[in-house]
């Protein structure tokens, strides 16, 4: 458990590394994921939400690894900024989305008092990030102008996708990272290794 909630330098630097790296994943997903999103969306209304989860993974990774207040928000936001500044189809909107999605995940970790970081918290954080993304898009993407059926279906898919592609996948990534020993300066990394 983190002995204090103040961020150490290593927390800041590693959170930043994860944020920037996640931003690069976004840049890839902005093309591949968006193609999937659009294809799914064209076939059925709202099913495009299935692809959204990957864009929410920053918050889950940040929260699980750093375990400090603000980590989920910081990582997701930084990733969004990287994605926006390198250039994507959403421009400044990306940054607002990052803010909302990060906040969604952050709230879940906060609700558990920054004390529990298991697969349940990860999945809930991913789902909450999805819900936040859905809410923001009502306005930013003009989704309020879409039909109610669309919005209902979209909500379900985005939240599910967040729970799985961000929550579960993020949890698996963190576990794999911990197994490599790369997180040895973090409580998240020491949970899995034995003393030698």
């Amino acid at each position: 458990m983190p002995s204090s909630n103040r961020w150490r330098v290593v927390d800041i630097v590693v959170a930043s590394v994860i944020g920037v790296a996640t931003g690069l994943v976004f840049l890839f997903w902005n093309n591949v994921g968006y193609a999937w999103f659009s294809a799914a969306d064209a076939v059925t209304p709202g099913l495009g939400g299935v692809a959204v989860g990957i864009w929410l993974i920053g918050g889950v990774l940040g929260g699980l690894i750093i375990r400090k207040p603000g980590a989920a928000l910081y990582v997701e936001l930084l990733a969004a900024i990287v994605s926006a500044l390198v250039g994507n189809q959403w421009g400044i909107e990306t940054i607002y989305s990052g803010l909302a999605q990060g906040l969604g995940a952050e709230l879940v970790f906060a609700a558990f008092g920054y004390k529990r970081f298991g697969v349940l918290q990860a999945v809930l954080a991913g789902a909450a990030a999805g819900a936040a993304a859905w809410t923001l898009e009502l306005f930013l993407s003009g989704n309020l102008q879409k039909s109610a059926e669309f919005l209902g279906l979209y909500f379900v898919t985005v939240v599910l996708s967040g729970a799985i592609l961000a929550g579960l996948l993020g949890w698996l990534v963190v576990r794999a990272l911990a197994a490599t020993g790369a997180l040895h300066r973090f409580a998240a990394g020491r949970d899995v290794t034995e003393r030698v």
């Binding site: 961020w7 150490r8 330098v9 290593v10 800041i12 630097v13 590693v14 959170a15 930043s16 590394v17 994860i18 944020g19 920037v20 790296a21 690069l24 902005n30 093309n31 968006y34 659009s38 969306d41 064209a42 059925t44 209304p45 709202g46 495009g48 910081y74 930084l78 926006a84 500044l85 390198v86 250039g87 994507n88 189809q89 959403w90 421009g91 400044i92 909107e93 607002y96 009502l138 306005f139 930013l140 993407s141 003009g142 309020l144 102008q145 879409k146 039909s147 059926e149 669309f150 794999a176 990272l177 490599t180 790369a182 997180l183 040895h184 300066r185």
Partner: protein
């Protein structure tokens, strides 16, 4: 973030933080409405301004093609599922193409361009160090976070270099023969691991140089704002105001909360 990018007139003289602010000022109002006119006005003026700054059509396509491709795709979703209104031309299950959805589709397509292009072009050529200096000195964001992020950006900037070095070492260790997919997957993960490890050590190195203590910090590089910055902000505000005003005047203004 690409330093080999071509120089732009005027834009390059503006502090990166001001560019970020200008981007917010210019495009946030456009997010509040889904109508083709405000977006079209903004897009038109933007294109002229960027042409004046030296963005050639070739450069435009080279740097913004993902946006150019995805704009019509965003429009398609609106075309099929936008709120139906007026004559219906075609329908299949939940998809309906109507007068209303056609108008929304056009609006969304132009809007994506008007919002996406300035972000890509204003940041065509940004040195992360300069951006960090600006964020800390001008925008007064916490220095620990700004510099931590800057250090991390540099590590990630080494990804290309690391990728090659990792390829060499895997080859030397006898595990370089895997097929492309497996290699790319394991190397991408290994790259993340490497960056995190480097990050952990970098943090120690930064602390060894007195970083993270409570002493107030000075800045060796000055980040300044001046006339050009004010001008860019003014232009951004003017473009935003003009495009919204035109839409309101023409009656197409269609706020997202309606």
């Amino acid at each position: 973030m690409v330093s080999s990018a071509p120089r732009l007139r005027f834009v390059d003289r503006v502090n990166p933080v001001t560019r970020l602010a200008a981007l917010v000022v210019l495009t946030t109002p456009l997010l509040l409405t889904v109508d083709w006119l405000s977006a079209a006005v903004a897009l038109g003026i933007e294109l002229v301004l960027f042409a004046l700054a030296g963005v050639t059509p070739k450069l435009l396509v080279a740097r913004t093609w993902p946006i150019l491709v995805s704009a019509p795709i965003a429009g398609l979703s609106m075309l099929l599922y936008g709120q139906p209104e007026g004559t219906e031309y075609w329908s299949l299950w939940l998809a309906r193409i109507t007068d209303g959805s056609i108008e929304l589709a056009v609006a969304v397509t132009v809007r994506v361009l008007a919002i996406g292009l300035p972000a890509a072009l204003l940041f065509l050529r940004v040195d992360p160090t300069e951006l960090a200096d600006g964020l800390a000195q001008i925008a007064h964001l916490p220095a620990r976070f700004v510099l931590g992020a800057l250090g991390a950006t540099r590590l990630v900037g080494l990804f290309v270099e690391d990728w090659r070095a990792m390829g060499l070492s895997r080859r030397a260790r006898g595990i370089g023969d895997h097929g492309v997919i497996r290699r790319v997957a394991t190397m991408a993960f290994a790259l993340l691991v490497l960056a995190i490890r480097r990050g952990s050590k970098l943090a120690t190195a930064m602390e060894a140089r007195g970083f993270g203590s409570d002493t107030p910090r000075t800045w060796a590089r000055v980040s300044t704002v001046g006339g050009s910055d004010a001008a860019l902000l003014a232009i951004a505000a003017a473009v935003a105001a003009l495009s919204i005003a035109v839409a309101v005047w023409a009656g197409t203004f269609n706020p997202v909360w309606s």
